[in-house]
Amino acid sequence: MAGTVIGEGLTIEGDISGDEEIVIHGNLRGRLTTTDAVTVGGTAVVGADITGASLSVAGQVTGDVTASERVDIQAGGKLVGDIKAARFTIADGASFKGNVDMEV
């Protein structure tokens, strides 16, 4: 069970920080920082810099991403921003625009 869930229809304008898993199905504008995994659902629209252990994107993300482990863009996912992660995958059907830095 995810520690934090931002449901569809919910909007957060501001910073989110924590030490647990965060799942986003709604909207987020600001900054997202955690030490655990971050999941961006298919209905989510995120305009934020994301820092976490791992990131999985099925929705839309605009912002720089820093992950200590990995970043996965799922099919249908869209990510615009620079990525800094040890592992990085882009699924077929995903869109991505930005720089990638895998020297972590």
């Binding site: 995810a2 520690g3 934090t4 869930v5 931002i6 449901g7 569809e8 229809g9 919910l10 909007t11 957060i12 304008e13 501001g14 910073d15 989110i16 920080s17 924590g18 030490d19 647990e20 898993e21 965060i22 199905h25 709604g26 909207n27 600001g30 955690t34 659902g41 209905t43």
Partner: protein
Amino acid sequence: MTETSVIGAGTVVSGHVRGQGSLEILGRVEGDVSVTGNVSIGPAGRVRGNVSGAELTVSGQVQGDLRATLSVLLEPGARVAGDISGPRVGIAPGALARGHVQTDGEPALAAARAPAAAARPIVLPTRAVTAPAPLPPAIRHEAKAPLPPPAKFEAKAPLPPPAKFEAKAPLPPSPLNAPPEARKPEPPRVAPAPPQAEFTPVRPIKPEARRPPPPVVPVISKGTKAKKKKSND
């Protein structure tokens, strides 16, 4: 699943949270929370900001106003510093609240409570009935009191003006009204009438008792209206 949002115990949100659905706050929120669904603030939850939702259930700490469209419930252990408002407000023993508490909600919700709404209108009409009763006497008193002064004023005031008006009024109107043909009939009607009405009542009033003077009605000689009409035509 997507309707209920959770802010975990290890999560801090600094900013506004708003939108649809319910929200469970187990961590910290520093900012306003406004959702259409229910808000539950767990024992470890802390909110510094205003919280608004349908049903608010607080077991943790809130520093800000609680505004509910349905109900606010403070569970034992809750600590709230701020105003609480909602149609229903419950504060359990062991809960701590500091601020203004108001159980008046939105008018629609208050009207929805049929028994309470039915009881109140009965009280209001009685007030409405009692209110009119005192009013008439006040009006009567006013009616009685003001009457004598005007009578005195009329008796004293009319005296000087008539003399002046008689002297001045007839003179200027005649040259001014002379050019226009339509106004010609007016001066004769005004001039003869006032002297008759004012001279007769004014003199008898003074020597006699302080009675209110008879109504001053300018006497118009018969046929002046007809003359005026004819002249206008």
